[in-house]
């Protein structure tokens, strides 16, 4: 049984529980490795959590000059090895999803390791445990697709090529490969049309 992380931005309410919980995980030293962004706040309240997608062939590891980023037997791309990482930031530049962050002061790249300390003892990652809307879900693909109407996708077509990931994004319907590119705007919702109609 393979347990994976599923990200469903459509359910995200922007509360930042994931961001705060990530910093509480033992071994994270109070640092959060999740970014939570408004997609286009001027127009919409849509938010999206960005967690490491754990690529099958991770660009961050490929470009690391110090060979500091390792992948474990479960396909989890680990945070940089402190004794090797030189804080150059190549990984941050190379990642197609914008995940790794070089933490200033400690000159170390830190990124999501899927809560290694927790998953090793049968717990869910901290972010997926606390998320109050189910925007972050940890379990099997069968379970999440059985529970929900959305469908899981883990192949992404970037300008630079196809990226397969261990984690999944939930899409409104089965989409196959997800095309990524262009300027990000929040999808227009029915509710926004209803607000446009308001009589003032």
């Amino acid at each position: 049984m393979i347990l994976e992380l599923f990200v469903d931005a459509n359910r995200c309410i922007g509360c930042r529980a994931c961001v705060e919980a990530c910093s509480e995980c033992p071994g994270h030293g109070g640092q959060s490795m999740i970014h939570l962004d408004f997609v286009e706040r001027a127009a919409s309240v849509q938010t999206a959590p960005t967690v490491c997608m754990h690529c099958a062939d991770p660009a961050c590891a490929a470009v690391c000059p110090a060979d500091a980023i390792k992948i474990d037997a479960q396909g989890v791309v680990l945070t940089a090895m402190p004794e090797r990482c030189i804080g150059c930031g190549n990984c941050a530049l190379a990642c197609p999803f914008g995940v790794p962050t070089v933490h200033p002061g400690i000159e170390l790249m830190m990124k999501c390791d899927l809560c290694y300390d927790r998953t090793a003892v049968g717990l869910k990652p901290m972010c997926a445990t606390v998320c109050p809307s189910g925007a972050l879900f940890y379990g099997t693909r069968e379970t999440v697709e059985d529970l929900r109407r959305a469908r899981a996708a883990n192949e992404f077509q970037f300008d630079g090529g196809l990226v397969r990931t261990r984690n999944h994004l939930m899409m409104p319907a089965a989409t196959g490969v997800v095309a990524v590119g262009g300027v990000l705007t929040a999808p227009r919702s029915r509710a926004e049309q209803h607000l446009e109609e308001a009589l003032c």
Partner: protein, 726 residues
């Protein structure tokens, strides 16, 4: 007397708010905790289960409690970072007395003697009711019960009320009128099992985030969602139907929806005939309330109003949820009654996946409104003006019925009486009215007129800065007790650590004060469990019957839903099954509501509607959450939210400083220009004091029955300030 004893800056230097970012000793020192205490988050009425990690007798962190059924480990950011309030540098650790230059330490015995001496002196001069008690809805049931008994028997005043006056009272009064009982009608599991969720005036995603999960679980099964709110909130963004109501027009909207439901043939005639009274009068009153007639006042096209009625009629099971958005009004009770009318007329209550609830806001928003700290109430949700109820309580308290004071003033009225010099002494616990009451300048002037003010608090709140004497009480995790969650589920708050320094559990302070006031024998409690046992006895036979609930049973069942009238009773998760209501005849009541406009309507001088509310990272007046660094970092200061069309008309850019002015005063804030709010409405969150206080703008206008303030509608004007982004 109660002018600030030092400058605000000096008081902040000494007592905060300062920001805590890390557990004691830092994150690196936080290894292998000594114990994990299964308890609940102190913030908000959801009362999520959470484990607090304790090491060396200090709270050092948090772990989700996945076994607790309500939230199954889910938390909002407040729940994740709540532990940082413990070991906080601002924590009050010693009794403090006002001096010419701030506060200085005083021994406990002297402090308690001082309260007794000053209260007795004031009451000799001004009468028993010359001293008032203000209490809070974040207190445990045990403490809420104790405060009511303390005010009536120890202080002997009729004037005790609580900050639930700013929260639950409109819904509570309407529920009592319609159903004869004031509690969420359904357990939250019914939300996940419904076909249509209608959410009115509830920014669920920020104020009760865990409820989001229940709504999404319903949607996963195909349920649809209607949201009524002047702001396009995160839960509204994905709704099938969003009704951007003009603030203050909720009753008119709901009347029109029910009119359309009647026209569509959606009335459940059998249910109405068998289980309700008053429908014919309501139907007549609604005859002219067509969607077309009200659309301009409500601010929503008639077609959308009809669409809501169609969705409601088509759904076999519905759950209607509302919160402060429709309750913080001079017609808050009316607004709630119009919601209940819709639910009753269509018979959509008392069934699995089908019913109604108000979403309580405060930590013990439900339980703290049941056991006698309200000005008109005795334990067990009894009525202080009902002779039978008075006799029952007086007998169990061992006093003659005549010794029980009568109905007192509500919290806002208490402040007005202080302002008029009719109340001269005050004891407060768990209430920060300077930030939370409307018209903050008025509240400040009232506090400055008190002859003697004693505040029990864990941090020096903005209000407590005005006290003559500050007694260091307990944080939620420093005491044991029960609270009653949003669902009506009585749960067990476990003690994690002792209060620090000389601080004491709140209930010990109250019992010690009662002894100083000469009634120690009636407050001879050895533990919160002993107080709970007395509360159970007092509540027996009342509406809110807790007599069959014990701490052990709560632990075994993961909570017990009241009413629970005997030890072998499992509790009552769902009310009104089989259409049986709590009025003596077993029938629910319809109430025809004639729409009244808000107290203040937009005019040429003040052309915009201000509405206030909460953000996800702060809780109420912020006494706790404005001290938790990671939460403050989300949004360090309030901003005024406005639509780009309005901003364009006023020549305001996003981020620019603006002045918001009402008839009460003004605040200067940065503009947040977003297309997710009605263009005729602006929004400011209310968690901040002083120059950032939204309540400098709000008005002292109250619902005539519930006395809840009209926080959701004030008339304001806005002008840009020069200096751009400064």
């Amino acid at each position: 007397m109660a002018m600030l004893p030092a400058t605000v800056d000096a008081l902040i230097d000494a007592h905060g708010p300062h920001l805590a970012f890390e557990p004691p000793g830092g994150f690196a020192a936080r290894t292998a905790p000594d114990r994990r205490v299964e308890t609940h988050c102190c913030f908000c009425g959801q009362q999520c289960g959470v484990k607090l990690l304790v090491k060396d007798e200090q709270v050092v962190g948090v772990e989700p409690w996945e076994e607790f059924p309500f939230n199954q480990g889910k938390l909002c950011p407040k729940g994740v970072k709540r532990y940082l309030q413990n070991n906080h540098p601002d924590r009050l650790r010693h009794p403090l007395v006002r001096t010419g230059r701030g506060f200085s330490r005083i021994p406990w015995d002297e402090a308690l003697d001082l309260v007794a001496e000053r209260f007795e002196r004031l009451q000799r001069r001004w009468g028993r009711d010359g001293v008032a008690v203000l209490s809070g809805a974040s207190l445990t049931n045990e403490k809420a019960y104790l405060m009511g008994k303390f005010a009536r028997l120890a202080v002997g005043t009729r004037h005790i009320d609580y900050n639930g006056r700013l929260c639950m009272v409109a819904a509570g009064a309407a529920n009592l009128k319609a159903f004869g009982i004031d509690r969420a009608a359904n357990p939250w599991a019914d939300i996940a099992a419904t076909d249509l969720v209608m959410v009115l005036g509830a920014n669920v995603s920020e104020c009760s985030p865990i409820t989001t999960d229940y709504i999404w679980r319903a949607r996963d099964r195909g349920a649809r969602v209607i949201v009524v709110d002047p702001r396009l909130t995160p839960i509204a963004r994905t709704a099938e139907l969003y009704l951007p109501v003009r603030p203050g027009r909720d009753a008119l909207l709901m009347n029109a929806i029910l009119h359309a439901v009647i026209r569509l043939g959606g009335v459940d005639r059998q249910f109405v005939a068998e289980h309700t009274n008053g429908f014919d009068g309501l139907r007549q009153a609604l005859e002219r309330c067509t969607p077309e007639a009200v659309e301009h006042e409500v601010g929503i096209p008639a077609a959308r109003i009809v669409e809501a009625a169609q969705m409601w009629v088509q759904a076999p099971r519905t759950m209607l949820l509302h919160a402060r958005g429709i309750e913080h009004h001079t017609h808050g009770v009316d607004n709630v009654l119009t919601c209940i009318n819709l639910v009753l007329a269509t018979g959509k209550i008392g069934k699995p996946g089908c019913g109604y609830a108000t979403i309580t806001g405060q930590g013990n928003g439900q339980g703290a409104r049941e056991h006698g700290q309200r000005c008109n109430q005795l334990p067990g949700a009894r009525d202080i003006e009902n002779p039978a109820h008075r006799a029952h309580v007086a007998a169990l308290w061992g006093v003659p019925e005549t010794a029980l004071p009568g109905k007192g003033a509500t919290a806002p009225e208490i402040v007005e009486m202080i302002h008029r010099g009719e109340i001269r002494g005050l004891l407060s616990l768990c209430f920060n009215p300077l930030v939370s009451l409307p018209d903050a300048a008025f509240t400040r002037a009232a506090l400055e007129r008190l002859d003697f003010y004693v505040a029990i608090d864990f941090f020096l709140s903005e209000t407590a800065r005005h006290a003559d004497l500050v007694l260091p009480g307990s944080l939620q995790e420093e005491d044991e007790g029960t609270v009653t969650s949003v669902e009506g589920r009585v749960i067990h708050v476990r003690k994690a650590v002792d209060p620090p320094g000389e601080a004491r559990a709140d209930w010990r302070i109250i019992c010690d004060l009662a002894a100083r006031l000469g009634v120690g024998d009636r407050f001879d409690f050895a533990s919160p469990a002993a107080i709970f046992d007395e509360l159970r006895q007092l509540s027996a036979g009342g509406v809110a019957d807790y007599s069959g609930i014990t701490y052990e049973k709560i632990d075994r069942q993961m909570g017990v839903f009241w009413p629970c009238p005997s030890l072998d009773h499992r509790g009552t998760p769902r009310l009104f099954e089989g259409g049986r209501f709590a009025h003596p005849d077993g029938r629910a009541r319809f109430h025809a509501v004639e729409y009244r406009p808000p107290a203040e309507v937009a005019d040429q001088e003040y052309p915009l509607i201000l509405t206030t509310g909460r953000i996800v990272s702060q809780f109420l007046s912020g006494t706790q959450t404005r001290r938790i660094g990671p939460l403050v970092a989300h949004q360090p200061q309030p901003r005024v939210e406005m639509h780009p069309r309005l901003a364009g008309k006023l020549g305001i850019a996003d981020g620019q400083r603006v002045r918001v002015t009402s008839r009460r005063g003004h605040v200067d804030l940065h503009a947040h220009v977003v297309a997710t709010i009605r263009p005729d409405t602006v929004f400011i969150p209310y968690h901040w004091p002083g120059v950032h206080s939204a309540n400098r703008l709000t008005l002292r206008a109250y619902d005539p029955i519930a006395k809840i303030p009209e926080f959701k509608v004030s008339a304001v004007r806005i002008e840009p300030l020069s200096g751009g982004d400064a």
